[in-house]
Symmetry: C2
Subunit: 157 residues, 2 copies
DNA sequence: CTCCTTAATGAAAATGATTTCCATTTCTAA
DNA sequence: TTAGAAATGGAAATCATTTTCATTAAGGAG
């Protein structure tokens, strides 16, 4: 079980090899699905999309591959608090993309928002710096999420 | 299984009765433990503290009680991404207290921070308002968490 | 104070996402 | 080609949380 830490080097092609991972058929398929899908897919969502074409790729491999991709920074692993992780293809090098979400606690719909992002990022940068110094933390990531009821769910009650 | 929504009324005593819940011995014990403990306890942590004195209170009851308390707004349910929920006694009415955290991804230590809180809260207020209007969401909660390595964990590597 | 309805309880079983095990297959570098 | 390391899939294991179900207890009515 390799535990390499190989983030922030080159990009995409050759990244696997460069980090000592093998770019297998299964991994390419999963990466392909992810790069073509919009939104946030669970491991099982991915399995469902992969299975019809490649029935010999098991759910275990999906999980393992997602773990590798996440380590490589090619995929973000997201937690919306409903007990199942979601994965999102990373369009560029880690850190370039901010993923802030608005989650409906009733239907689990997720909105990726980009509004207010600039102010947020600026505040985050400062806070991260300040907190890191004060509490001696090496901060690597953050989560900002708003929870509530979406239009449909709040009217249907 | 009652599903009452009874937040934001009176406070503490009489809250149970007022919402149609019974104030049982088990619930009082759990509430007592929570109010006296500093920090974030998991269901099992609470079970461990309760069990010596009240060995007849089962883990199931802990879970059920935490659910009720959380519904009543007397306890916050927190998710630090390690697959087990933590609970924190709510010192006052819901919304009065902001709980922002700094989490070590290695040892799971959690720092509650209050620095930068004012700027954060102000930005949150604006963002919440703006997002709620734009995406027609009734926003009720938010999560802000920073992840990284604490001093100990980043040096021991 | 006692009765009665209904909520609350505990133990054990079920759930469901994720991991681990292990025997087999596939790469890859020499 | 060939040995050694990685990757794989299926089944079994994990582990926090929930559900089931038969039993107990709370608390309002009388």
């Amino acid at each position: 079980m390799p535990k390499r830490n190989c983030q922030g080097q080159g990009w995409w092609h050759g990244k696997f090899r460069g980090c000592g991972y093998r770019l297998t058929a299964g991994r390419e398929v999963i990466l392909d699905i992810l790069s073509k899908s919009q939104g946030h897919l669970s491991a099982e969502d991915i399995y469902m999309k992969v299975h019809p074409k490649y029935p010999n790729i098991g759910l275990t491999t999906i999980y393992r591959t997602l773990d590798v991709l996440s380590n490589l920074g090619m995929v973000y692993k997201l937690d919306f608090g409903d007990g199942r992780a979601r994965y999102e293809f990373a369009e560029g090098p880690k850190g370039a993309h901010h993923h802030h979400h608005l989650v409906c606690t009733d239907c689990n719909r997720v909105v990726d928002y980009a509004d207010f992002i600039n102010e947020e990022i600026e505040l985050l940068r400062q806070t991260e710096k300040g907190l890191g110094a004060k509490y001696n933390f090496k901060i690597t990531d953050h989560v900002i999420q708003f929870y509530g009821l979406c239009g449909k769910c709040s009217t249907k009650k």
